[in-house]
Amino acid sequence: MKLTGPLERVLRVLVADPAAQHYGYDLMKAARLPSGTLYPMLARLQQEGLVDSEWEEQRPDAGGRPPRKYYRLTAEGARVARLELARAPAARGTSRHVAAGPARPMPGSAR
């Protein structure tokens, strides 16, 4: 896992309270990320088993709003996130480009 800036922001929000449930808009506001960045990232984290999701139960007091999908860190995810975040400031402080490795190729350019 390569810790990019947006990923770091999401992990910080999730790690702040690992038991808390977050829905997408909540994370978008807290991590200040657009939806186009957040959802692919969550999907990747979920594929790697670091995040899991569950559907909110429909409550009668919800005022008719549709149930939301909630995300939170798995136990493994919390461990990995803490580890990566602990390493992050050092990597960022020195030489960011070397530490971060080559930039991710633009989507579509890899074929």
Partner: protein, 199 residues
């Protein structure tokens, strides 16, 4: 709240059309998730005035369109859906320098036309003179060319065809130039014969 309803309808349509790109087994769940998020955005009382929530909802949808593109790459190839619209996300991206050349040429032509029209308007001022009519004719001709090109193209890049049509019509020279620079798939070289190939 009056600004919210149309925004919600547009946004729901955009999400539905973005979800078509996803594999069939993911589609319904994502649609439910994002529709719920849309409600969360539009009901977020901390964002005022209400039209700002509408704007946020639309921005959310633009992001979703981007996200589904990424997610469909993430999904295993076998279950990837075959889109039912005529435009395909499979349209190859332009090589960057190709796009740069096209943009440079487009802007150059645009600047030349503007300069020529300004020069002519100085000689023949007023809204009735022939330079003005020439300008209108050029605009109509250029729009017609772009629309014909979109209509004949088997696929276009980045946006659906109807969106390119709107852009071309809304901003007469600039929209058409944007289409020719970014949206047009060069027929001679890069248009694949079938809509099948995927990266």
């Amino acid at each position: 709240m009056s600004g919210i309803r149309p925004a919600q309808q547009i946004a729901e349509r955009l999400i539905r059309s973005a979800c078509r790109r996803l594999p069939a087994d993911e589609r319904a769940e994502r649609l439910r998730e994002w529709t719920a998020e849309l409600h969360a955005i539009l009901d977020d009382e901390s964002v005022r005035p209400s039209w700002l929530r509408g704007m946020r909802a639309l921005a959310f949808c633009v992001g979703i369109a981007w996200a589904t593109r990424q997610l469909s790459r993430l999904a295993p190839t076998t279950s990837r859906s075959v889109g039912n619209s005529r435009w395909r996300s499979g349209a190859p991206r332009a090589r960057p320098n190709d796009t740069a050349v096209r943009i440079a040429v487009g802007l150059g032509v645009y600047a030349a036309v503007v300069a020529a029209v300004i020069a002519l308007l100085r000689v023949h001022p007023g809204p009735r003179g022939w330079p003005f009519l020439l300008l209108v004719a050029l605009g109509i001709g250029f729009d017609g060319y772009c629309l014909a090109d979109i209509a004949r193209a088997s696929q276009v890049r980045y946006l659906p065809k109807w969106a390119w049509v709107l852009i071309c019509l809304a901003q007469t020279p600039a929209g058409g130039i944007a289409y020719l620079c970014a949206g047009r798939v060069g027929r001679a070289r890069s248009a694949p014969p079938s809509p099948a190939p995927q990266p």
